[in-house]
């Protein structure tokens, strides 16, 4: 789960990390008071869960209260990658001498958390030479030792008060990372002001979804959380699929991602889904969607998803391809598919491009499908061959 900037800062502040004073507003009525409070010149930032805000005009500067109002008007309600900006933060614009990058994330090869420090902060950090980047993995049981953090600062070439200060920031950030089940936590830039004070201007925090259950108390203090922050917002078809999946807790049938194609897919098993999707493209096909089916969904659920996927304009047919270990009852899938095809006003033999379900109750599935004029395949047909045949047959179906 990705937190917004102001939520990230609030969370990290509770671990003793220091950020510029910031006021979050969600209406124009609050803007002038906020600017007056933080003082001029001012920075106004759209609160979005995406990086690279500077490049898309989601960060603005103002020298006067009037300028701030104009900037706020542009930012509130702005569309960023399909999501609407509902909150902006208003902060004093600081002058500073140098900017650093500090971050903690996972090193999946070492299987350990890793602390990162670069003296090139801001957007320069990724292109910085690796010799200017200090990295130190640490034990998740004991955390990043303060002396290790100071060694990182020294290795980067820092001295004096800044060395000690940056070491402290890294230690506190690593404590926050472990305490909050972080996936990524970074302060960028971390600046040294004219008075020699270390202060964070921007922060990014991502909490692991699988650990949210034990972070409820902390997250509860942060206000409304952005739950879906990856990729584009869901399409109406995807939302409807999700609704169908939620109508019944039994089995999965509805994790849908929509694409621009003419072959609807119902596929079983995560790895098999990726394989089939690749194979269909490889054989010149165009998937209309990605949809995983698993567990033991009800006939009704399978029917509803089938009919939904077939309702997409331009779809010629559907392939149902599951892996050899799925424990799904093939007969239930077969009945559900036929119900859905009928509900969509189509004929099974002219719609089902391929049916490969090597699950239990295969003989019943075969009888049901063959009665409707559709051939059934089992494990003797590889995922690759199934995809190839599905693409060939789909070409003969009408859209």
């Amino acid at each position: 789960m990705r937190l917004l900037e102001h939520q990230s800062k609030k969370l990290l502040s509770s671990f003793g990390l220091v950020f510029t004073e910031s006021i979050s507003v969600n209406s124009m009525a609050e803007v002038r008071a906020a600017v007056e409070h933080v003082g001029l010149p001012t920075v106004l930032k759209a609160q979005t869960p995406f990086g690279g805000r500077g490049n898309i005009g989601a960060v603005k500067f103002a020298e006067s209260a009037d300028q701030a109002v104009i900037a706020a008007e542009a930012l509130l309600g702005m569309d960023v990658r399909g999501t609407t900006v509902e909150v902006i933060s208003i902060e004093p614009k600081l002058t500073y001498d140098c900017e650093f990058y500090v971050g903690i994330t996972w090193d999946t090869v070492a299987k350990l958390p890793v602390a990162l420090l670069s003296l090139a902060g801001g957007v320069e950090v990724e292109s910085a030479q690796s010799d200017r980047l200090a990295r130190q993995s640490f034990n998740p049981w004991t955390g990043l030792a303060p002396y290790k953090a100071r060694e990182m600062a020294a290795e980067s070439g820092l001295t004096g008060k800044t060395l000690v200060g940056v070491g402290e920031v890294l230690t506190k950030l690593s404590q926050a990372f472990l305490a909050c089940d972080g996936i990524t936590m970074e302060i960028n830039p971390l600046v040294v002001t004219k008075d020699g004070v270390l202060i964070g201007l921007d922060a990014r925090v991502e909490i692991e979804d699988e650990a949210v259950y034990r972070q409820q108390e902390r997250l509860g203090l942060l206000g409304e959380l952005t739950m879906t922050a990856t990729g584009r917002p869901p399409t109406p078809l995807e939302l409807e699929a999700q609704r169908i999946d939620e109508t019944d807790h039994r089995g999965v049938a509805g994790r849908v991602v929509e694409f621009d194609g003419d072959l609807a897919l119902l596929i079983g098993g995560g790895g098999a889904s990726l394989t089939v999707f690749d194979a269909i493209k490889e054989h010149g096909g165009a998937p209309a969607n990605y949809c995983e089916v698993g567990g033991n969904p009800t006939e009704e659920k399978v029917a509803a998803i089938t009919s939904l996927l077939l309702s997409k304009p331009g779809v010629r047919g559907m392939a149902v391809i599951m892996n050899v270990v799925n424990n799904t009852r093939a007969d239930v899938i077969a009945r559900g598919i036929l119900m859905g095809v009928k509900a969509a006003g189509r004929k099974p033999a002219e719609t089902i491009s391929l049916f490969r379900v090597p699950g239990n109750w295969g003989r019943e599935a075969r009888e049901i499908m063959e009665a409707a004029g559709v051939e059934v395949y089992g494990r003797e047909m590889s995922l690759d061959a199934a995809a190839r045949l599905a693409v060939e047959r789909n070409r003969t179906h009408a859209s």
Partner: protein, 295 residues
């Protein structure tokens, strides 16, 4: 070799629905399950296997060196520590949705205890014709149809694809020495590189088919190891999810880019593996060509 058929196996969380079914299928396949643990349910039996309250109580009465963990996610770390403290040498974690922090912590403890961890989020491992751990292959009749003894190992980041690949090999008359679902998470106890090193020491294995997916750096890490030190094993890779490379990814922060260094895409993984001399299959069926003994 992993999974000595004579070694005793205990199942933590044995009274759970999935674990109980897994015990039934594993026993039918010949696995040497000697005991189970569910705190508070000591004294019960599951398919004839005695249940204890603690792992310590199991090792007092039985010789067990392998543990299969099938407990809810919040209980996994503690269950793993319990198995390490009782001297387990192999620990298979089946549970899905274990927080990474817990996986990292238990991996640090496992290293200290000298225990090999497979998973989390692994369907299990099998030595065809000998024994299996976990639900790999599904019901026992399906396991028998899919896996046959032989000299090719299968390592897969997807549980289902482990069986799909083995089943395809079997259908072409090629048997398997071992098949392991390494687990689908970003951090797993034993990754491709760790396991290839074990397999290099196994005289019963000639070749390895690995199945990879987008994300993480397991394939790139293996490529780096092979470039540095070539393997005696013939290694064939099949990677799925090429289409994911073309989806628009939404960036969040810089840490991932710095640490992974642009790794994670299928395109990058394929390139790294090919540079290291690995045969990377273009399509699912194509991996047989790399094995060079297409029947």
């Amino acid at each position: 070799m992993l999974l000595d058929p004579k070694a005793g196996v205990l199942v933590q969380g044995i009274t759970g629905r999935e674990a109980s079914r897994m015990v039934k299928d594993s026993l039918a396949y010949g696995s040497n399950i000697v005991a189970g643990v569910t705190p508070g349910k000591g004294g019960q039996r599951v398919h004839g296997i005695p249940v204890y309250d603690t792992v310590a109580a199991v090792v007092e009465k039985h010789r067990a060196t392998i543990s299969v963990i099938s407990v809810p996610p919040p209980a996994v770390l503690d269950a793993a520590l319990e198995s390490f403290s009782a001297g387990m040498q192999l620990c298979l974690i089946m549970t899905e949705r274990v927080p990474q922090l817990d996986t990292s912590k238990l991996q640090v403890a496992a290293r200290r205890a000298g225990c090999t961890v497979i998973g989390p989020n692994s369907l299990g491992l099998i030595r065809p014709g000998i024994a299996k751990l976990g639900t790999i292959g599904g019901r026992v009749d399906n396991v028998r149809r899919s896996f046959t003894p032989g000299r090719v190992a299968v390592l897969s980041r997807s549980g289902g694809m482990t069986t799909e690949i083995a089943s395809y090999l079997t259908s072409r008359g090629i048997g398997q020495s071992i098949a392991i679902g390494v687990g689908g998470d970003a951090i797993v106890g034993s990754n491709f590189t760790d396991l290839i090193e074990l397999l290099e020491a196994d005289p019963a294995t000639d070749a390895v088919v690995i199945y990879g997916e987008p994300g993480g750096a397991a394939e790139e890490q293996l490529a780096a190891r092979l470039k540095q030190k070539p393997s005696r094993l013939r290694i064939i890779a099949f990677l799925s999810g090429r289409f994911v490379d073309d989806l628009e990814g939404i960036r969040f922060g810089h840490a991932g880019v710095i640490v992974e260094g642009g790794r994670g895409s299928i395109r990058g993984k394929v390139k790294a593996l090919r540079k290291a001399g690995v045969f990377v299959a273009e399509t699912f069926e194509d991996f047989l060509r790399g094995l060079k003994y297409d029947a």
